[in-house]
């Protein structure tokens, strides 16, 4: 193995939105389908970007204790209502619920299923997402993600990058922190994982945000291993 530091790794835990699935194009596809059905003018990709941007502040309010624990489906719905109001788009409650479930129907990146399937032969693989269990479970069924189990924010009622989420992965799997590797496309996620003592793999996803926001493209000091995609991650963990 490239890095003897990684020989102890037994489980890989994955960030999901942006790392495993392409949320932007998937949400935009559902927004576009709704707009066509309703005869509305909506810039679907910009809508997806604004929606994603809008739930982050509310997640941070939960992290700071200003909001009680609220699961991601509900934060998504709050952000969606605000966005629809700002854009003066009028939807029924049923249409809002249906659109909110766009986050349950995200497409995996092209390498994700093959890569996870390869990695799973030698490592336990688990989701470690801010998405709630129902969201992750429905999304994983939809996308065909072959997890051994689904962990994450809801199980400890804390959002990443709060340390409790990373620590809980090692605790639930009954592993040492050095035996768990966090896989993510976002350096903020990997920095927090590293602070807790997890190993870290950075997978570059240059297309996550489209043309508007700059993704992380280069590793920093928190990264143990950098991979082009999940197949490359499997290859590097073999050699």
């Amino acid at each position: 193995m490239t890095n003897p530091h990684l020989a102890s790794v037994k489980a890989l835990v994955f960030d999901v939105f942006g790392t495993v699935v392409d949320w932007r194009n998937s949400v935009a596809r559902d927004v576009d389908a709704l707009a066509r059905r309703k005869g509305l003018e909506i810039q679907a990709a910009e809508f997806a970007d604004a929606w994603r941007a809008a739930y982050r502040p509310s997640m941070d309010r939960v992290r700071r204790g200003e909001l009680p624990w609220t699961k991601l489906d509900d934060l998504h719905r709050m952000a969606l209502r605000t966005l629809l109001r700002d854009l003066r788009i009028d939807l029924s409650e049923a249409e809002i619920d249906e659109l909110n479930r766009a986050w349950h129907r995200l497409q995996p990146w092209p390498d994700a299923i093959a890569g996870l399937t390869r990695l799973r032969k030698r490592f336990l693989v688990a989701a470690l997402s801010n998405g709630n269990i129902a969201l992750m479970t429905n999304l994983s069924r939809y996308a065909g993600l072959p997890w051994d189990c689904i962990l994450g924010a809801e199980l400890v009622r804390r959002y990443k990058p709060d340390h409790e989420v990373y620590q809980s992965a090692a605790d639930f799997l009954d592993l040492e922190r050095s035996e768990v590797m966090m896989v993510a496309a976002h350096l903020s996620d990997l920095r927090a994982a590293k602070e807790v003592g997890l190993r870290t793999a950075f997978v570059v996803r240059p297309l996550e945000y489209g043309p508007n926001e700059q993704p992380d493209l280069e590793p920093d000091a928190s990264v143990d291993l950098t991979a082009m995609d999940f197949n490359d991650l499997d290859f590097q963990l073999r050699t």
Copy 2:
């Protein structure tokens, strides 16, 4: 469908020990292998029975609040130490750890994988066991159980038949209780699930306890549907 009451079911949650896997013969196999390796005289099946019987009282002590929350791997280890002392069998700490992980290496009943795979096409399928997450995850990898997610006692720090465990399945899956069906070979499990409002399927496992203990063979009033095995359960839920 046989019972229109069941048309709303979207998720099946499974008891695992005895319902999905044959713990008795699997544990006995590992005990027997250890006995041969060490040149010890151990009646392997009786050992498995005594071990299973011995952890139940400690689980009930957790349920009554006399013991703090303790995960099943640790209850298994406590029961194993007592049993070894009673039988005057001397094992090293490493041997005890290894034997305790016999519960991570249980064989599925012959219909379990095919049945779960069929059921999963139309229903979300999840483990809802008293086994802790690491135990269930390792066991499911070992046996090849195709869960959508792993729920259970550890996530709410309560043991079945405490109602919180059944309620948590509906909550984590974001479903109504009437949309969740508990599948188990044990009527005590199904009675508690029914009290909470879950639907119930009784799967008969006549060989679970070997010749010494009487399994549940006939449904009672808490049971919505009785099946011979998981393939039969799939068939009945189609017709």
